[in-house]
Symmetry: C2
Subunit: 195 residues, 2 copies
Amino acid sequence: MARKTGSHSQITGPKIRAQAQQLFARHGFAAVSMRQIAAAVGVQAGALYLYTPDKEALLFDLLKTHMDELLAAWAEAPRGTGPMAALEAFVRFHIGFNLSRADAVFLSYMELRNLGPENFAMIESQRRAYETELEDILKAGQQAGAFLIPDTKLATMAIIAMLTGVTTWFREGGRLSRPMVEDIYWDMVRKAVGA
Amino acid sequence: MARKTGSHSQITGPKIRAQAQQLFARHGFAAVSMRQIAAAVGVQAGALYLYTPDKEALLFDLLKTHMDELLAAWAEAPRGTGPMAALEAFVRFHIGFNLSRADAVFLSYMELRNLGPENFAMIESQRRAYETELEDILKAGQQAGAFLIPDTKLATMAIIAMLTGVTTWFREGGRLSRPMVEDIYWDMVRKAVGA
DNA sequence: TTTGATACTGAACGGGTGTTCAGTTAACTT
DNA sequence: AAGTTAACTGAACACCCGTTCAGTATCAAA
């Protein structure tokens, strides 16, 4: 056997990325073999190398794509006027985006250490750019007197950690709906940065 | 060569656990080989099996010891009277304990998935017990009217995620000292659960 | 000083790893 | 229908994996 009937790179390529993302998120990058990914796609291991130069590049592609989409989505997200509205927009955006892409979020926080130095630096700088978006909101609110924050950098890290944690416990169809979760988190954040 | 001069199980045993913990935390359980651990200890791979039945048991031992110590330390931690004092005690305890054992904390949150079902269940139940300690404080404060929390379970997860995140950015000797970090986090938590 | 327990080595086991590539078949173009 | 390109196989490469074990050197006790 060689080429499969109905095979197409525009089908196999995305399939590989999707299965790799799921497997990496579930078991960890190092614990997943190229043969396991290939088997999940329905292909032999060698075929993966038509789509990626090596295993690390496959991971980097997933992380890079995720960060690009995160920054692009936030750039286009609706944000009101004033620090309070901007903060609320960020909180709701972050929760919504994270919940809709739990695997990718988990990967981009956990598997950075498997990247080489220059790939690591690229993702890290994007993550910092995203965090700076929140910090800028907090700084602006602080200067405008809308927020009372002892340290904006610490508050940034605290809020992001708190919000990102939602993926560890939230289950679709559980006790709380997504809008309820957003509301409750926003309530806590609003109070935490307030007077 | 066989036995090394000056060798003793009471020295080698702790060395193995310490090196394994550091390597697992840095590179991930799956990415670290028994030979790497052995090399870090200064011993051949086979010698590790005098101290652990297998690799997973080594990880479990680290996680179990950490959770036991966490629960024991909290049980003996000073806590004042009333919900507000109890919450403050928890916040300061959690930050302090986490910062003093960053590797172990990281492991117990990230490498649970490498445990077999029954080992997983044991650690998971201890973690839930710890989380319940915080939730009980929040519930008591809510009923006493000291806190205003829409959902105590969500608030529990949110606060723990926020506090645990301190290990990802805090560096000893940096801009902020430990007491300052504790103060600022406590300020945010206090306001977040307040009216 | 002999003896037995303790701590470790070094080689081996079967199997899995990422990656390469000549060969083969399906899909597309002319 | 013939020729070309795209997609994939299956075997092989050198190496690393967790784990076992007979053998050996050191330590502690008698």
